[in-house]
């Protein structure tokens, strides 16, 4: 690739410019790596050691921190709660959003543009605006403090972004395929089911991962909608660990064990699918 532009002085030799680029970019990227490694190391030390030797490598890992967090602080339960509510939400989200996105990108009807814009508008609604009304509505529906209620809200707030990205994806599929399928005798829904849906798989997978990561990390809605400890999601569990840690003598090591448990699934997904996630975000963000 050709050099597009450079902010470094022109008279600098190219080699120096490159070295500077590597140092700046590499430094910042390295910090990401450092962050993960340091947290994992910290989670394997005793709190005392963490304070006295924050840089050391734990050669005698204290796995007890994990046992304590997983069992006593009930991260095992929270992990399952998160897995359940996030997976089901993403599933329902895809089931309702994919057909809608398809119709909005391929259907020809008068209100199409209006409905599209109406859905996009939802991306601009600030979540904190919904705190109180959602709490009230959930209470009225008997869904307050339930994972299913939280899941429904997760689906609803994720619909705009998901439909938007999928709509773009469907629009990028060649329309001749649709014609071909119709010639082959497909009804409307058969075109969707046999032809467009399989072709949209990469796009669907992308939004599924993005939503999974986003909801896995979601905190504010869970904070407002979930009250009972047994219904806590992992991020709520993390917050309660932060606050309860203070009452149990500053168990920072256990806290970092919690941080590790929270971040491992999403980092693992990211390791394998970073390109797909990044392209999905730029699709939704910039398009």
């Amino acid at each position: 690739m050709k050099s597009r532009k450079s902010i470094l002085p022109r008279r600098w030799p190219r080699r120096w410019k490159n070295a500077a680029s590597y140092i700046i970019v590499g430094g910042w990227s390295g910090f990401s790596l450092f962050f993960v490694l340091w947290v994992v190391f910290a989670s394997l030390k005793s709190t005392r050691k963490l304070f006295s030797k924050p840089w050391s490598i734990p050669y005698d890992p204290a796995f007890g921190n994990y046992v304590k967090t997983w069992v006593s602080s009930r991260f095992g339960d929270y992990f399952l709660n998160s897995l359940l509510v996030v997976s089901l939400s993403v599933l329902v989200l895809l089931i309702v959003s994919t057909p809608a996105a398809y119709v909005l990108s391929r259907g020809k009807f008068r209100s199409r543009q209006v409905i599209s814009s109406f859905l996009v508008f939802g991306m601009g609604v600030p979540i904190p605006l919904l705190f109180v009304p959602l709490a009230v509505i959930m209470a009225k529906l008997g869904l307050a403090d339930t994972l299913s209620g939280l899941g429904l809200v997760y689906v609803a707030v994720s619909i705009p972004f998901t439909v938007f990205v999928l709509q773009g994806f469907f629009s990028s599929l060649p329309s001749e395929l649709e014609s071909a399928a119709r010639i082959d005798g497909c009804k409307d829904w058969q075109i969707f089911w046999h032809v467009m849906l399989p072709l949209a798989k990469p796009g669907i997978l992308t939004v599924a991962i993005l939503n999974f990561v986003g909801l896995w990390n979601e905190f504010q809605l869970a904070l407002v909608l979930i009250d009972s400890p047994e219904n806590r999601t992992l991020s709520l569990g993390m917050y309660s660990l932060i606050t309860s840690m203070k009452y149990s003598g500053g168990d920072w090591a256990g806290l970092f064990a919690g941080v590790t448990i929270v971040m491992i699934p999403t980092i693992a997904l990211f390791l394998f699918l970073s390109d797909r996630m990044i392209s999905g975000i730029t699709m939704g963000g910039v398009k």
């Binding site: 700046i24 939802g122 109180v132 009304p133 409307d188 905190f219 971040m263 999403t266 963000g285 910039v286």
Partner: protein, 294 residues
């Protein structure tokens, strides 16, 4: 031709959920903000716009707005500065662009709540990582700084917030830069344009739409920011970290102290929404909203 019935069946589930749990609550917020209620019993009292007039003189609210502006402006300058720097450097022909891009973006896939824990430890006075580093390189005076003292704490928080956000905005701006056809830059170079001219005359105008969208995204994020400062503040969050969202939560749901002013809290939400709409409109007017087609 798609049949009307299928259009309906395909659209309905998504629209219903969207209406019930996003649009309706958003609209209800406007209504709720005209009442005074604790949400406990049935003591719901109509107060009209009184919640709003109270906001005008509520200096905590204005404190939170001030903090929000610090995040919006100072944070924004840092985030966009870094994002541009990385875009330029990543596109300067260095090896491993994709890898670096992924690494810079990575904090975004980790729960903010988990990340705050790390940053709390970094900035902890006396025992924290930062103090440790400063001590080890002999900067004893700086090492004694209380990074989380009231006047500093928002800046300490902002460091973490900028760290996360930079990754997000870098990939957006980078993708905008990558959209520019390379032949266009080459054509300009053949015509004798230097790097600065290429940036000013080609890159910038061609990225204008992406820039505007990212700016709008930042403004929206900065106005509604909640979880990172909230978690950074811990269970007894300092008012120096309040953002309007946090103040809303405290007024509506309380921490340990029982404050249950649902109507007032919602009025904060509505005000935030209005601030968002106004700033996005102003942005659109200030920076002409014409897109480049190519």
């Amino acid at each position: 031709m798609m049949r009307r019935r299928m259009i309906l069946v395909f659209l309905m589930p998504a629209l219903t959920l969207y209406l019930c749990f996003l649009v309706f609550p958003a609209i209800q917020a406007f209504y709720l903000s005209l009442f005074e209620t604790s949400g406990f019993g049935d003591n719901v009292k109509w107060v009209g716009l009184r919640n709003y007039s109270r906001l005008l003189t509520d200096h905590i609210f204005w404190l939170s707005v001030g903090n929000m502006l610090v995040i919006l402006l100072a944070g924004g300058a840092a985030v966009f500065g870094f994002a541009f720097l990385f875009t330029v450097l990543l596109n300067s022909g260095i090896w491993g662009k994709k890898l670096f891009r992924a690494m810079i973006f990575m904090p975004n896939v980790i729960a903010a709540i988990a990340i705050t824990t790390f940053w709390s430890f970094v900035f902890m006075p006396r025992y924290g990582l930062l103090t440790n580093i400063l001590k080890s390189i002999g900067l004893e005076d700086l090492a004694k700084m209380a990074w989380t003292a009231p006047e500093n704490i928002i800046w300490a928080m902002l460091v973490g917030l900028v760290w996360i956000s930079t990754g997000f905005f870098t990939i957006l701006i980078l993708s905008g830069a990558d959209k520019i056809p390379i032949d266009m830059v080459e054509a300009a170079r053949l015509e004798g344009a230097n790097n600065r001219q290429i940036f000013r005359l080609i890159t910038l105008p061609m990225m204008w739409d992406v820039l505007l969208i990212t700016l709008v995204l930042w403004v929206v994020q900065a106005i509604t920011v909640f979880e990172f400062p909230y978690a950074f503040g811990g269970p007894e969050i300092n008012q120096n970290l309040y953002t309007p969202s946090i103040y809303l939560y405290i007024m509506g749901f309380g921490q340990r102290d029982p404050i249950y002013q649902l109507g007032y809290a919602t009025a904060i939400g509505v005000t935030m929404f209005l601030m968002m709409v106004i700033s996005v409109t102003v942005l659109r007017l200030l920076l002409r909203w014409d897109q480049v087609e190519y």
